[in-house]
């Protein structure tokens, strides 16, 4: 099924933006799940290391230089489409770290176990909240750091709090 029909990126879309195995082994890295040419460019000014390449045109699809990106996540809350995530495959022996933007209340707390949802909103695993960034500079787009089983690091993109309502 096409992204334009479902709103869910297909494997072929994701293949274009996911870094190589080799790069993932080196540590945290940002993944920009933005697949459509739209007039929007704040991400290219968001990166303190200049890892998001300069746009020739405001409609360009963002490209990351994975060698410059250190996965700091500054870009996550700057993206109006909330399409940027950070994945650190080196986080633990069995677990990876996934950072997601989360604009809902209540916010989870460090140590909470939450449902890890995939891009279709289906629960795929349990995730542990390891940090909640909600500084003023994030302008009400908090960033949730999740520890997830490595198999699901490219799946989990949202969470549902246990016992809470949808999203």
């Amino acid at each position: 099924m096409l992204l334009a029909k479902t709103g869910v990126p297909a494997a072929s879309d994701l293949a274009k933006v996911i870094p190589s195995e080799e790069r993932l082994k080196k540590g945290a890295v940002a993944i920009i799940e933005c697949f459509q040419s739209i007039p929007c460019n704040p991400c290219q000014f968001a990166c303190p290391r200049g890892a998001i390449k300069e746009f020739a045109d405001i409609n360009d699809i963002p490209k990351i230089d994975f060698d410059l990106c250190d996965g700091c996540g500054t870009c996550i809350s700057k993206c109006p489409g909330l399409a940027i995530f950070v994945v650190d495959a080196t986080y633990g022996a069995e677990e990876a770290l996934v950072k997601i933007p989360y604009e809902f209340l209540p916010l989870p707390a460090k140590g909470d176990r939450v449902a890890g949802l995939n891009r279709e909103g289906k629960e795929v695993c349990e995730a542990e909240v390891v940090r909640v960034q909600s500084a003023k500079g994030l302008d009400k787009t908090p960033i949730i750091w999740l520890s997830v089983p490595k198999d699901y690091m490219m799946e989990v993109r949202h969470i549902r709090l246990k016992g809470g309502a949808v999203s």
Binding site: L2, L3, A4, K5, T6, G7, V8, P9, E33, C34, F35, Q36, S37, I38, P39, C40, N41, P42, F45, A46, D57, I58, N59, K78, C79, P80, G81, L82, A83, E103, F104, L105, L117, N118, R119, E120, G121, K122, D139, K140, T141, R157, H158, R160, A165, V166, S167
Partner: protein, 367 residues
């Protein structure tokens, strides 16, 4: 008898386009009166909780609700003064150029030398049985309830339309703690930005394309809806009906320009579906077929707020220039035109480009 109040430039509408027009014309040196029927400036921006797209010049990455204060600051900074008349509805236009306004049930008149109409757009309605039941809302009304007054429209919502408004309002409903049962879209593809679609999908909201609402039912208010799939010719496929229990149906099926004043003034219009229906014919200076009336924003053709702001700047610039305030006209106009062109140049802007080609391509207007 009191003498007639006069102004050099009247800007009608204080949303993104009108505010930008007023600021630009004031900076150029024109004496401006900005009129809005609402008690506050900002138009629909005051309901937009999401971060804007576009570039820095159009406040990208800033939330819509935070943009009016930026624009109002610019308005107040000067160097000139803009007279702001709030709670004031322009209800008539006379042949001698006088506009009639209503405030607190009293009528007043104003004679401007130039007018910029930035009155925005109104939501389109969708015909289906039961569409008049309480519980069927325009998406803008749902935004007003939720984001201005902090009131939930109901418990379970069916969103009709997967353009940017349908997708964004669905996300806002989730943020307000309201369940969105589904988003349905009659077209075979999602019309809005796919990043907005992905946001609501991962939060668990299904999007059904080639799908429409057949009827709404309920006694005193909406209790449910029947949806069905559409074939390639947009006709309902028998046997695909599905009944959903819900109390809110939110219509986000497009906007059409609000141009009653321009019709009344006798401005030429043209039917351009890509721009939302009947739109005023205008040239690249945003000037209508009546030379002293300009237009900007959704009233000139339905588009994103980022484009509306630049159109506002262009209208303000040229209206001021026609009054003799033409400082830096060429370079400013070139800058704004380039920004507009960039916003419209991508795949997402193709519909607008087609619409504008139809509008500005063929018909000649006074210049």
């Amino acid at each position: 008898m009191k003498s007639l109040r006069k102004t050099e430039l009247a800007v009608i509408g204080g949303g993104p386009a009108g505010l930008s027009s007023a600021i630009t014309a004031m900076r150029q040196g024109a004496e401006v009166t900005l009129i809005d029927r609402d008690p506050v400036l900002g138009g629909q921006l005051i309901k937009q909780t999401h971060m804007f797209f576009g570039s820095k010049d159009q406040f990208a990455s800033i939330r819509g609700i935070d943009i009016p204060s930026e624009l109002i600051k610019a308005l107040e900074e000067g160097p000139g003064k803009v007279k702001v008349e709030l709670g004031t509805t322009v209800i008539g236009y006379y042949d001698d150029g006088v506009i009639l306004m209503e405030k607190d049930n009293r009528a007043t008149t104003l004679l401007p030398q130039r007018i910029i109409v930035a009155t925005g757009a109104a939501e389109k309605m969708l015909p289906f049985p039961g569409n008049d039941l309480p519980g069927v809302y325009g998406a803008g009304a749902v935004q007003t309830l939720m984001n201005v007054y902090g009131i939930k429209p109901g418990k379970r919502v069916l969103m009709v339309g997967a353009g940017n408004i349908g997708l964004i309002v669905s996300y806002q409903l989730l943020q307000a703690g309201v369940e969105v049962v589904a988003i349905i879209e009659a077209a075979p593809h999602i019309g809005g930005y796919l990043v907005h679609a992905s946001k609501v999908r991962r939060a668990g909201v299904p999007i059904y394309t080639s799908c429409s609402i057949k009827e709404a039912f309920g006694r005193e208010s909406v209790e449910g809806a029947v949806i069905c799939r559409l074939d390639e010719n947009w006709q309902p496929l028998p046997g695909t009906e599905k009944t959903l229990e819900l109390d809110v149906i939110c219509l986000a099926v497009g906007l059409s320009p609000l141009t009653e004043l321009l019709w009344q003034a006798g401005c030429k219009h043209k039917y351009v579906p890509e721009l939302g229906g009947y739109v005023p014919v205008r040239n690249e200076k945003m000037q209508t077929s009546i030379p002293y009336i300009y237009v900007a924003g959704d009233a000139a053709g339905v588009e994103e707020a980022s484009s509306a702001m630049i159109e506002g700047k262009l209208a303000g610039l040229f209206a001021a220039a026609s009054l003799g305030y033409d400082h830096d006209l060429e370079s400013l106009a070139a800058t704004y035109r380039k920004e507009l062109e960039e916003l419209r140049s991508g795949e997402a802007g193709s519909k607008i480009r087609q619409g504008l080609a139809k509008l500005i391509g063929g018909v000649s207007v006074a210049s």
